[in-house]
Symmetry: D2
Subunit: 205 residues, 4 copies
């Protein structure tokens, strides 16, 4: 197999990329100058050295010269230590941050729990989560918000996390909540399902 | 113009139907037996005689032998007279009823108010609405729920209705609410807009 | 079931119409004036009386006062009697006529033959076709063009028609042809299948 | 800007990739082991050293130890030197080769000529093309096939190339052809445009 096909095989593993687009990526690279390719290769190679998982929330963050173990967000004293939001992935955390509507801390599960999964505790960072919650509980944590997508796997993950945390929240008297359900931007009432309408009515204001 | 094209012209006025599909409908009718066509023509012809607008909520309902002016829902003594929900169209009312999560009465506006509309009061049943609200207020109405779709025209309609009803709700001390915003069924957190996330956080539980 | 739902049930049988759009059609009719509805009902009712199948090509055509058995196209002496094009449906004939690139006569099969069909001769107007071809053969027919869509059912229909006509075309020395294959408008070479490219090369000019 | 965003910026330049998917690619890389990343970086870096443009047809091909200037296809004595096919890009050439219906040589233009382009000769390999055609003409070239996509830019490119080659093909008595037009795989007759039908009739067989 030549370099074009070898590289196309690697691009084919990218999320959402088929063999045709993978090939197209290679031809695109061939059309660019060496500077672009060297830059791409260098950043790819250094990615894991320059990006670490935060020791507290486990999101990816750029390592600094000082070798901080925690990301800037977890080190931010202005954030509200009474709140912890649990999300599945970094992209979810970013969507929340972009909304500028939350000022507490986070924990990134690193995945979701599929329906009927036999070892759910291995699909997400279960131990790190319970460890962090205990630590935060001692520091004044009052509420945990499980922020999950509204689909079968998201709700299954939320259920598993809730069960996992039950003993701790009972012991420390922490409130456990989920994101509110209702009409989202763009929803047309006529096409809404019963569940969404029921929640939109419950959350009316 | 022959009958095929004349009929196709009429079908072309149906919502969402282009000239090609309109023609296809005519060929479809030509492929059916006379019984089907007679049935279709008869029901079309009798539609307006058999379906009336309810004198109270203005939804369409089948006229009965007794000549009732109100639909079955508005005559249902088991419904909660403390609640009135305002919707744009019959299809919205049907979506709410299918959710089995609301037991009050309704009012169907019969349309929406476009942005920058100069005569908004003419786009919906404004007079009938204020008339009904006054009547229901005297009968113990406690809350009006404006159930609008979450898009520019839906929100504009909700704003206009709220303004229209302000004097009455002030006079009779009626609560005015809208459907709750948040994550709807199928929403993926990663792709949610800031507004939806803000509301989902506000409505968390 | 009330008139709204009864009528919606009939619309649901229209090609490509689901239950939601069927309901929408009924609400649309309720929003129109009586003139439109009466017109729609009248045209529907009279459709089969006013539209006949041409006794020659079997396309639908508007019956006239004189009671002509053949459509205007089959009676047109300016058309070329040396050519007969066989199409599956009226809509195909219309697409050909709109292209202004054919001046012979037509025959409308009234359907297609599904793969593995046990009684293919019953899915299309087999007898009428062979009858017409024999008659036209005596009148100087030189070429039959089978104009089929390029998909499994279209090609299966073309194969069946070719077999059906083999004895007659042999007897009368008629040429049998199919529409040319190649790149159609909008085709991008990169995404073309092998069969299309092979034919495009064969038909290059 | 940190490494995640820097790398996402580079992926955003890939054809068809938006900022969200670019970010997703980076998170995907973070989830893979170092072996995969090193492989990706290495192949990217070496791509231009290992892949050259063929000195004859200008397609990309893997450089070999012997330092051949021409690709395997151009060095293949079994190919028919009487035919030259001109395509816009490598992907077009690959589609033709996959169809196993052409046995001549190729030339890759490296682009297309947009409508109203002021310097069309700079958008494609004009000089290399005329050079190659002259050389092949001396070696027995009989036919040039311009294989363009059937859209405005494809046809404009074909027109420009035809004009560019007019003096040479006149001098050497070379035939100039284009791919045949007609119904392509999957085409439904009912939805075909007039141009496609006209060509399908012309190319009937």
């Amino acid at each position: 197999m030549d370099s074009i096909n070898k590289l196309a095989e690697l691009f084919k593993e990218f999320p959402g990329i088929g063999s045709r687009q993978a090939k197209r990526f290679v031809y695109y690279l061939l059309s660019r100058n060496s500077g672009y390719l060297e830059n791409l290769a260098k950043l790819t190679l250094e990615l894991k050295r320059q990006i670490k998982n935060c020791s507290s929330c486990f999101r990816f963050f750029p390592a600094d010269a000082a070798g901080a173990a925690q990301c800037a967000l977890c080190r931010d004293a202005a954030r509200d230590s009474a709140s912890l939001m649990i999300v599945a992935r970094d992209a979810d955390l970013e969507a929340i941050e972009k909304s500028h509507s939350y000022n507490g801390f986070y924990f990134v599960l690193g995945g979701t729990v599929p329906i009927l999964e036999k070892e759910p505790e291995k699909k997400i960072r279960s131990k790190a989560l319970t460890g962090l919650v205990k630590k935060r509980a001692a520091e004044g944590l009052k509420e945990i918000i499980i922020a999950a997508s509204v689909n079968a796997e998201g709700e299954n993950t939320a259920d598993f996390v809730a069960k996992l945390l039950t003993p701790i929240i009972a012991q420390f008297n922490i409130k456990l909540s989920g994101l509110g359900r209702g009409l989202s931007t763009g929803t047309e009432l006529e096409y809404s399902d019963a569940d969404t309408i029921k929640n939109a009515l419950k959350n009316r204001s």
